[in-house]
């Protein structure tokens, strides 16, 4: 089961051991370096980050692609960078 995370091809942004809001800010920074349409995986230990990032995606029209837990309380949260955000240079 652990082998499923991070998903294949995802750009991993490692925010461990930070907690909110630094997880979200790490995602924002990481998205700047991602290709349009690329899947981004945020590695975090903060379960609250799932909700934070989901709400951020909703407000920013970014596709939220779910989350999954691995061992030791580590989570991966998936966001896909949209074409619009790539052109703008930020979400």
């Amino acid at each position: 089961m652990n082998a499923m995370h991070p998903r294949e091809g995802a750009l991993v942004i490692d925010t461990v051991p930070k907690r909110c809001p630094f997880v979200l800010l790490g995602l924002k920074k990481g998205l700047l370096g991602a290709e349009a349409g690329q899947l981004v995986a945020v590695r975090t230990i903060d379960p609250q980050a799932v909700d934070d990032i989901r709400r951020y995606c909703l407000a920013s029209a970014l596709p939220f692609e779910g989350s999954g837990a691995v061992d030791d309380g580590v989570l991966f949260i998936y966001v896909r960078k949209s074409a619009v955000s790539a052109a703008a240079g930020s979400p």
């Binding site: 909110c20 809001p21 630094f22 800010l25 924002k28 934070d52 407000a59």
Partner: protein, 506 residues
């Protein structure tokens, strides 16, 4: 009879007026009788101006009659717990009188509720409540906690062995959080049906002042057989509360509050709880005054409440001051107090919301989402700590900035600010996480608001100039590059003791 705090029944409920007597004249006389209203400090620009104290959500100023009553009583001071000498009997009577006044203020029947003094504020009372509720619900596994709680009504419930589930807040069309989301509360009560020990919720937030619709909350919780613990530390000095009225929707099981937020610094925290919650419970603190007899191999506790829950010597003078405040507030009438403070809140809200560079937090519909007179804000482009420092150093406006011991709630309130942050360095972000909080009380005036708003306008107009005058110190706080408040010379305890000794007759 309906209790205060339904969204559509804000501040003035005719049937709650019975809790106190209408007395606007008394309000006007009392509100100028607080210690510290005339204090002036020298500021960074050399001027000496009166202080505007707008930090009442942290601690209020002291009501002079309460201090005067304590001073008068000190001639009789002695420990309680004895009927042997007259002074001790007076002490015991005073404690009873203070409890009676406090129970009367919240309209709690003495036959049903016990008034227990605990520690120095609501924190001690809420920690005690967490233990009491856990002991009373040993067969349950969940505690529901609203998402707007002060840490003191959140953390104690997380460590008693129950699983804490936080209940989110309703959000308005602009994305501003308001009061607790009643629909989600109901769904959680259903989801954890039969497993929930109690709901811990504040009547009014210490960050935004937003008032929860407590009648609906209690009705929902009780409809699912869930007990309710209500933190009234922020609300009680400012709005009417009737536990008797709330009985019509199932009743609140306990409330907790602080005397130091209620014009009586130095007074104890208070837990008012149903007597049935204490039955067959061993208090967490043991000592004198709560035992009938002690043997080498055991002890027998007394049965009577609240003594059984108050080991050691009570804070007699603090209780007396708090009882005095409760008595005076009742004589004024809490609806009169609430009306006065609500008028000030609306002026404050209108003035601040007219400033384009000021961002206010929480739902902005004061009618549908009522709040007590607390307004948190930020100035665009400036850290909250810098704004508070400038207002203090150049305007003598005393207010607080930061997260106010409610970190998750503050993060939710400033969520959109966080989303807009470009810098993710910990130092920079940490200084942006928070807000400036204005909190009013009985003694607050339109002049206080005028001075605050003038100060905020000045901050906005001179952002760059002010920023150049401040640096961040090792503790992460903003400090003026040259101005130092000489607080030791303003009040030096050692010098004051020396002065007092010199004044003693030889």
């Amino acid at each position: 009879m309906t209790a205060y705090a339904s969204p559509d029944q804000h501040f003035l409920l005719p049937d709650v007026q019975s809790v106190g007597t209408l007395n606007e004249g008394l309000l006007e006389r009392v509100r100028t009788r607080f210690w510290g209203l005339d204090v002036s400090y020298q500021l960074a620009d050399g001027r000496s101006v009166p202080r505007s104290y707008l930090d009442s959500a942290a601690s209020t100023l002291m009501l002079q009659p309460a201090q005067q009553l304590v001073q008068t009583y000190l001639n009789h001071y002695a420990n309680s717990h004895s009927a042997t000498h007259i002074s001790s009997r007076i002490a015991s009577s005073i404690l009873m009188w203070a409890r009676d006044q406090i129970l009367a203020l919240v309209d709690a029947p003495a036959s049903e509720y016990a008034c227990v003094f605990a520690g120095t504020g609501a924190t001690a009372a809420l920690n005690k409540a967490a233990d009491v509720f856990r002991d009373a619900h040993r067969d349950k596994e969940i505690v529901l906690i609203s998402a707007m709680e002060h840490h003191s009504n959140d953390l104690p419930h997380r460590v008693t062995g129950l699983k804490a589930v936080h209940v989110p807040l309703a959000v308005d069309a602009q994305g501003n959080p308001g009061a607790i989301d009643l629909q989600i509360l109901e769904s959680l009560l259903r989801e954890y049906s039969g497993r929930t020990a109690y709901l811990a919720i504040t009547l009014a937030s210490n960050v935004t002042g937003i008032v929860n619709p407590i009648s609906e909350v209690v009705a929902l919780a009780k409809g699912h057989g869930v007990s309710v613990l209500l933190d009234v530390a922020q609300a009680l000095p400012h709005v009417p509360l009737s536990l008797r009225a709330l009985e019509s929707v199932g009743g609140v099981d306990a409330i907790a509050f602080s005397g130091h937020k209620m014009y009586a610094p130095g007074s104890p925290g208070v837990l008012i709880a149903r007597k049935s919650l204490f039955v067959e419970r061993e208090p967490e603190h043991l000592g004198g005054g709560i035992v009938r007899d002690v043997y080498k191999d055991g002890f027998v506790m007394i049965d009577s409440l609240p003594s059984r829950e108050e080991a050691g010597t009570p804070n007699i003078t603090g209780a007396l001051a708090l009882g005095c405040v409760a008595d005076i507030l009742r004589r004024i009438g809490m609806d009169v107090v609430a009306r006065h403070e609500n008028e000030l809140l609306r002026i404050l809200w209108q003035e601040l919301s007219a400033l384009p560079e000021v961002r206010l937090y929480g739902s902005n519909d004061l009618d549908r989402c009522p709040r007590i007179a607390i307004v948190p804000f930020n100035v665009c482009g400036l850290e909250h700590g810098l704004v508070a420092a400038i207002l203090n150093d150049y305007h003598n406006v005393a207010l607080r900035s930061g997260c106010f011991c409610a970190h998750p709630y503050v993060r939710e309130l400033i969520q959109q600010d966080i989303w807009a942050m470009e810098d993710d360095s910990e130092e920079v972000v940490a200084r942006r996480l928070g807000m400036v909080r204005v909190s009013l009380a009985l003694y607050s005036s339109r002049e206080d608001i005028r001075r605050l708003v003038a100060g905020v306008r000045d901050v906005i107009a001179n952002k760059d100039a002010y920023r150049a005058l401040y640096r961040v110190n090792e503790g992460g706080d903003f400090e003026h590059v040259s101005f130092r408040c000489d607080d030791k010379n303003m009040f030096d305890p050692t010098a004051q003791v020396t002065r007092l000794l010199k004044e003693l007759p030889r």
